[in-house]
Each structure stands twice: as C-alpha cells, then as structure tokens.
Amino acid sequence: MIRVVLPEHLRTLARIGGEVRLAVGGEATQRSVLDALEDSYPVLRGTVRDQATRRRRAFVRFFACGQDLSHEAPDAPLPAAVAAGTEPFLIVGAIAGG
C-alpha cells in the first residue's frame, strides 16, 4: 500500500482523518498514485492537478524521503521506500501568499 499525506485543507475536503493508504496497480509513479487518489476521492480532482492539463498545480509540491519530487516526470518511478509503503508520499501546499 502506498501511503499519502495530504495538506489539511484537502483532508477536510475529502473528510479524511489521517494518512491515505492506496493500492496502486503497476509501478508507483506520481501519475499512478494521483490517479488512485482521485479514484478513491473524486472530490480531489482538480485540486492537486489541473483538470484540463493534468499538470501539478503551481503551489502544490510533492515530497518524499527528504527529497522534493515536484519536478520529476509524472511517470518516473517513486522512491522504493514509497513504493514499499515504508515512507509516505507527501502532498504539500507551498508556502506562498496568505
């Protein structure tokens, strides 16, 4: 299971208390994890990725294992520790604005 940590506003929106655990078919990538996340919580569609372009929204960042993965290709494999579920995939609202 892939562990995903959402920012507070998206946890509230999706009515999630803590971490999300997702079964991801195939290789664990940003795209496959976000597809699984949106399938499980349709209300999150458009909040992490743009509805039309499917690109990461500008003020959303992806962190894992102490690294900023925001600029990695959507189909690049996520770190093995994320794929194994020992480390979470963090979706973070960037520090910007008020």
């Binding site: 569609r45 743009d50 509805q51 039309a52």
Partner: protein
C-alpha cells in the same frame, strides 16, 4: 413569519447571517470552508434551501459546493470547467495573444425556475451552465466565439465574467458583463451573443467608444422592468432603457462615479444604490466617509446615505457582488466591505447598522427573503 438569510463570501470562508423579519438581531454562522476564498454564494429563487457556492484557493484551484438544506450541510459538486473546443486567445496585458485559461468562478446564478439549473461566470471570461445541480458544466461558447473574443483583455482583477442577469420575462434572454470587455446579451438562451456597449465611453482604451474593451463593474435590473438596466462602469454610472441597445450616463451629482456594486430597490424600480469610491488607484471612499448613494429617479439625482456609517477615517472598499437587497415590505439593503464589516439597513438605506465588524474581507453578499 418572514426571515432573512444573508450569504456572505469572504477571502477566508463563507458566513451565513440570519435574522427574523425585524432585522434587528442577527445570528452569525461560520466560517464555512475556512481558509478558502468564497467568491460567491447564491440560492435558488424557487428553492431557497438549494444554495450554490464557489470555493477556490490559489493552491488547490476551484471547487463548487452545493447545499440542499439552506447551508447546514454541503457536498462538493462538479468542478470540471472545460472550454468548449479550441480555447483560442484573448489579448494579454502587453498586447500579445494569450490562450484562454480557466482560473476561477466569480459568480453563480441559479435559474429563476429550476433549482437544478445554474450558471457560472468564470475567469478567463466564459459562461458555463449546469442542468444537473452543478454536477457537470457545459460552456455556452457562443459568447466567447461571437467575434470580439480575441480583442478582450483582462482588467486589473483578471478577465472575469462577473455578472449574470436572467430576464424574468424572457427565459431566452441573458445579460452578462466582463471586465474588461463589456456587457453582452443573448436572446436565444445562450447560443448567440452580441456586445451591448453603445453609449459607453471609456478613456482608458484607444477608441473610447469601441464595441468592446469597457471595464463594466456590474449591471443590475428590476425584475418588473427587465429592459431597464443600470451599470456601474469602472468610471461612470450608466442606464439603458432598451435592454442594453444604448446607454446614457446618470452619474449626476455623485462625488465620484467610480465604484463597483449597483443595486435596485426591491419594490421601486427607479430607486438604485451605488457606493462611490474615490478612484481606480485609490480603492476607498472619498474623504474617508463611507456613503451609500441612493437615487429615486433612476439616476441623475443622488442623495448620500450616511446614518450609521463611518464618516471619518474609513478606507475600505465595497466589491462588485457585495451589495444586495431583500424583498420585505420595507426593503432591506446590505453590503459588505473589504474591512470585514457587513452593514444592514431595514429602511431602504435611511439608517444603517453593522451586523458584524471583523470578518475577513467580504467579496460577496446575497440576501434571501424566507417565508
């Protein structure tokens, strides 16, 4: 026993203010959707407990919320706003062609007859319609494609479609307004559109009387007389007596004819309200005095309404969707400020009291008259 429910959108959430028909004491509920920008909430005229809300943030984009119990509970509705076909381009600030990009919904306008039908005015400027209670949205792309779209340009606040007026006498007629493109009308339910800006004069564009390019801030009508339109333009208060075919200026003796909202009395179609703002570079009232101006002659002659409003050191703004009227016998008038106050008058503007003082900056106010 009648009651009033005010739907208040702010920069950091929504608030619902309720009172009985006396409008002396108010209950404040909220914030709903705390931390999110709520550009607008509006209830269905035929089912007041059906309320739609536009929820957005710079981080997480646009959401639409829907309530079926008067705002007690909410569910997220559809938020996929896809432009119809190739998006095309409009003018950017530097004069280059810029692709249409969806940013947010500024205004939600429920149908006058069907609570499942609702219109959404978007930035970049487009009109969307849902016929399934906001679950799915379709663009009425005849507006964007009617011909002048490539010449539209954003105002300082973005290229937003911020006003949607439905004609109660003709379900196929809709008026909309866009900053900074102008006013437009359809007579066939949204299939085809044309600009209705003849008579507007805007010195900030190369041709001051151009067909499009006018920064219309808001338009309003009285339901009993939908061919008469009132407009607060960037500068100038305007009036049309022929459904927008032509406009004439009715700024008269206003201390400034710059401003954002304009509203019509619920029972007197010739009584209108504006809030003069000093200038487009000074978004606060002239002389530090917060004054609503009322005309009982459909414009031209204006009186300052000051009783209960701060008359010194007041430097707030009142945004375009932040004024509303109720439909009780003695018409209530309400407005919210960027300083977080919501003011109410139960006597058509003669006297005012602040319902709340310290909300986040108020973006929109709608009044529901409940029986």
């Amino acid at each position: 026993m009648s009651a009033i429910r005010l739907l208040v959108g702010t920069r950091k959430g929504a608030f619902i203010l309720t009172s009985d028909g006396k409008r002396r004491t108010w209950k404040v509920d909220g914030p709903l959707f705390g931390g999110w920008e709520i550009y607008h909430l509006k209830g269905s005229p035929v089912d007041p407990d059906r309320i739609y809300a536009s929820q957005s943030s710079g981080w997480f984009g646009q959401l639409i919320q829907r309530s079926s119990d008067g705002g007690k509970t909410w569910e997220a509705a559809g938020n996929k706003f896809a432009y119809d076909g190739a998006a095309g381009t409009h003018q950017w600030y530097d004069g280059t062609a810029h692709p249409w990009e969806f940013k947010r919904v500024w205004h939600l306008e429920p149908s006058l007859t069907d609570p499942q039908i609702v219109y959404a005015g978007a930035e970049d400027a487009a009109l969307f319609r849902s016929t399934d209670g906001a679950q799915t949205w379709q663009e009425l792309s005849g507006l964007r494609r009617h011909g002048s779209g490539p010449r539209w340009q954003p105002g300082a606040g973005g290229m937003c479609l911020h006003t949607v007026l439905l004609d109660p006498s003709d379900p196929r007629r809709i008026f909309i307004a866009i900053s900074a493109a102008g006013a437009f009308r359809t007579d066939d339910g949204g299939e085809t559109w044309r600009p209705i800006n003849h008579g507007l004069r805007s010195e900030h564009i190369p041709d001051p009387t151009a067909e499009v390019g006018h920064c219309v801030h808001r338009i309003a009508l009285h339901p009993s007389r939908p061919r008469v339109l009132f407009m607060q333009k960037h500068w100038d208060v305007m009036r049309s007596d022929d459904a927008g075919e032509s406009w004439r200026e009715v700024s008269g003796n206003l201390p400034s004819d710059f401003g954002f909202p304009i509203e019509v009395h619920a029972h007197e179609p010739e009584t209108i309200y504006v809030v003069p703002i000093k200038s487009d570079s000074e978004h606060y009232p002239p002389e530090g005095k917060l004054r609503v101006y009322r005309s009982r002659t459909g414009g031209g002659e204006w009186e300052a309404l000051t009783q209960g409003l701060p008359q010194q050191d007041c430097y707030v703004n009142v945004l375009r969707d932040a004024m509303a009227v109720d439909r009780l016998d003695s018409c209530g008038v309400y407005f919210g400020t960027t300083g977080g106050q919501v003011y109410a008058s139960a006597d058509a503007g003669d006297t005012w009291t602040a319902i709340v003082h310290d909300l986040p900056a108020v973006v929109s106010v709608e009044a529901q008259t409940l029986s």
